[in-house]
């Protein structure tokens, strides 16, 4: 059997009195999109931070292509080829788009920043991804929320990632931008990368995910194959109720489960 790209074994993390993650298991294979769903405070973002190195686990093993690795800092994850789009974006409002894209991996010649090359690559990347940003030299604080999210997504594609973590990436994105992102996710999967997608939007998950992992109160609560599972099963796994008020209302059109 092929080793998964990334595997979490018995990962636990606690914040003071709150046990955020308890013995979580997760596998992401190369060329696969795994959706991570769960109610609020289920530990989804905490799990992303464990993998990205922003908030390392207290306990448990992370395996990368079958071998145990230590991810203690964001740099460790970056070195493995893990790129992350955080829910809160984590970008510097005072820096311009180019500077944010290259923060922590600036291109320089003889120690002096190569602004021309960085700006050229930024424009090239934005063009490849068909992303429209009015001014790549505008400080990030001057952009709208949606534009900032697009820049954060662009940053994760700067070096083609081997594993992409997306924490609520479609929040504040327009319809067209969401479609573009879903295209990109598929494109990335077809190139053999793994993707972990956190989303509340069942339509997005249905469109691109291969499997759905459910977290509930910091614990695994089921792993489903998207093509053979109903929306009701997933929602009841994440809320812990089979007879839930959320199921009584008719689904919104974009959430419709064909």
């Amino acid at each position: 059997m092929v080793q998964p790209l990334l595997a979490l074994r018995g990962v636990s993390k606690r914040f003071a009195a709150v046990q955020a993650l308890v013995d979580v298991e997760l596998e992401i294979r190369a060329g696969e999109v795994v959706a991570l769903v769960g109610d609020n405070a289920a530990g989804k973002s905490t799990l992303v931070k464990v993998i990205s190195g922003a908030g390392p686990a207290d306990k448990g093993v992370i395996e990368w292509e079958g071998g145990a690795v230590q991810i203690k800092r964001p740099q460790d994850a970056q070195a493995l080829g893990i790129a992350t789009v955080y829910q809160d974006l984590a970008m510097c409002g005072n820096l311009d788009v180019v500077a944010n894209l290259f923060l922590g991996r600036e291109i320089h010649r003889f120690g002096i920043l190569d602004e021309v090359e960085m700006e050229r690559r930024t424009r090239e990347l934005l063009q490849i991804l068909s992303i429209r940003i009015p001014d790549v030299r505008a400080p990030l604080a001057t952009l709208s929320g949606g534009q900032r999210r697009v820049v954060a997504i662009t940053r994760s594609f700067l070096d083609p990632p081997r594993l992409l973590l997306l924490d609520e990436p479609t929040a504040s994105l327009g319809f067209e931008q969401t479609n573009q992102l879903l295209d990109l996710i598929e494109e990335l999967r077809d190139r053999g990368a793994g993707v972990l997608l956190i989303s509340h939007n069942m339509g997005d998950i249905k469109a691109v995910a291969d499997r759905v992992a459910v977290l509930r109160l910091g614990r695994n609560n089921g792993l489903f194959n998207v093509s053979t599972t109903s929306q009701e099963q997933i929602i009841s796994a994440s809320t812990g109720a089979t007879d839930n008020a959320a199921l009584d209302r008719p689904p919104r059109p974009e959430e419709a489960w064909p």
Partner: protein, 424 residues
């Protein structure tokens, strides 16, 4: 490069697969080509005024004092001013580094005093060679800065408190070193005294340096433009480059001419300008400087982007401590003696005020080391003008305080404007 090759392949794939949903690339690119005039309009609209308010304040200060006393803009007074600003200016450059990461260093005045006292004690009392004493004094500032940074970063004590403790402790050490007489005189024609005593009277040296600086600016600007043109990116028009160069040339040559009519170019001022140019390049043009700005824009964002936050913070406090010690030597040099004056608190207040008045934000992430020069020029001009007019220092404090308040109000308004834009 492998990565770029990978992207070209990626683009081909995308064009085939998702052509229907994609926007037209040329239209996208047309939207990106903007003139520098457009960028300038944007900055103006968004309240990013850069050095303009500080330059205006300096012009007003000079015009007012010149109209009240015709000796204010005399070569002699400007020359003295040019040397007087160096000690505080040097300390203020270090303060800019700390303000950029959104922190504050209250120990710089005490460290400046300690540096002067340490030099004098080692050189005069213990007979150590001047060079060695200078190196130890400056090294001491660096080590103290590293210590502040370490306690702040690794133990998590707020920088405000760590450096407040430093303010007291280093002031105490300075008083101890100065001994009961509280002043140590050193040689008036030694190395340190020469720092502010030396002037280059020769016109060839002065105009040569002025020409060198102007030509260097012109060459760098043209080189940048050439690379941007070659890469097919928006570039600065040639006319603007020449206009900027001409403006720079006028300022530099007039300064050399005026200073030449008294004792010539002060060595101290040249050293300050050198430190400012080097630190400006460091902050604006190197990965290090980029990461300093990033810390001011958001520590957590910088950390998640892979910036080594602890190392950066400690290094910034090292810079601040080192430049405070260097500034202390210039202050001592002015009097050819180490005194309690720099530790009294005025140097600290003036250095922080200079950085802020010059346009560096107290909130982090925005500013330049040139603001230290502008700010200290304004503060020292007020002091000098008041002294010429025979006004008491009480009034001078009130006016400087007012200018500082105006600068901070500008800073806060700019920040509020930035925040409201962000939400829009």
């Amino acid at each position: 490069m492998a990565v770029r090759g990978g992207w070209r392949e990626w683009r081909r794939g995308i064009q085939v697969r998702g052509a229907g949903r994609r926007r037209d690339g040329r239209r996208w690119y047309a939207g990106h080509i903007r003139t520098y005039a457009g960028a300038a309009r944007r900055r103006l609209r968004e309240g990013e005024l850069g050095p303009a308010p500080a330059l205006l304040a300096l012009a007003v200060t000079w015009i007012v004092f010149q109209s009240l006393n015709e000796n204010f803009l005399s070569p002699r007074n400007l020359s003295v001013l040019g040397v007087d600003i160096v000690g505080t200016g040097m300390v203020a450059v270090g303060v800019v580094f700390v303000l950029l990461i959104g922190e504050i260093d209250l120990s710089v005045g005490s460290l400046a005093g300690l540096s002067g006292a340490l030099f004098a004690a080692l050189n005069v009392t213990h007979g150590m060679s001047e060079w060695l004493a200078v190196i130890i004094a400056v090294g001491c500032g660096a080590v103290a800065g590293a210590f502040h940074g370490f306690v702040f970063t690794k133990i998590g004590v707020p920088a405000f408190v760590v450096t407040l403790a430093g303010l007291l402790a280093w002031n105490g050490l300075m008083l101890y070193l100065l001994g009961p007489e509280s002043t140590i005189h050193f040689s008036e024609d030694g190395l340190v005294a020469e720092l502010t005593g030396r002037h280059f009277g020769s016109a060839a040296v002065g105009y040569g340096l002025a020409a060198l600086g102007t030509v260097a600016y012109l060459l760098v600007a043209h080189y940048d433009r050439g690379r941007r043109v070659a890469a097919g990116m928006p570039y600065r028009p040639v006319g603007e480059i020449w206009a900027r160069t001409a403006l720079l040339a006028v300022v530099v040559f007039v300064a050399v001419y005026v200073l030449g009519r008294f004792e010539g170019l002060p060595l101290a001022l040249l050293i300050l300008l050198g430190v400012i140019v080097v630190s400006d390049v460091l902050l604006r043009r190197t990965p290090y400087g980029r990461q300093v700005h990033a810390l001011g824009g958001g520590v957590e964002a910088a950390r998640r982007a892979g910036v080594d936050v602890a190392r950066m913070r400690i290094s910034v406090f090292v810079v601040s401590g080192t430049l405070a010690a260097v500034g202390g030597l210039f202050v001592a040099s002015r009097l050819a003696s180490a005194t309690q004056v720099p530790g009294s608190g005025m140097l600290l207040i003036n250095a922080i005020a200079a950085a802020v008045i010059g346009g560096t934000s107290l909130f982090g992430g925005r500013g330049s080391t040139w603001s230290a020069l502008l700010g200290v020029l304004i503060i020292q001009s007020i002091a000098s003008g008041m002294a010429l007019l025979g006004v008491q220092s009480a009034v001078q404090f009130m006016i400087t305080g007012g200018v500082l308040l105006i600068a901070v109000v500008f800073d806060s308004l700019a920040r509020r404007a930035a925040e409201s834009r962000g939400r829009a």
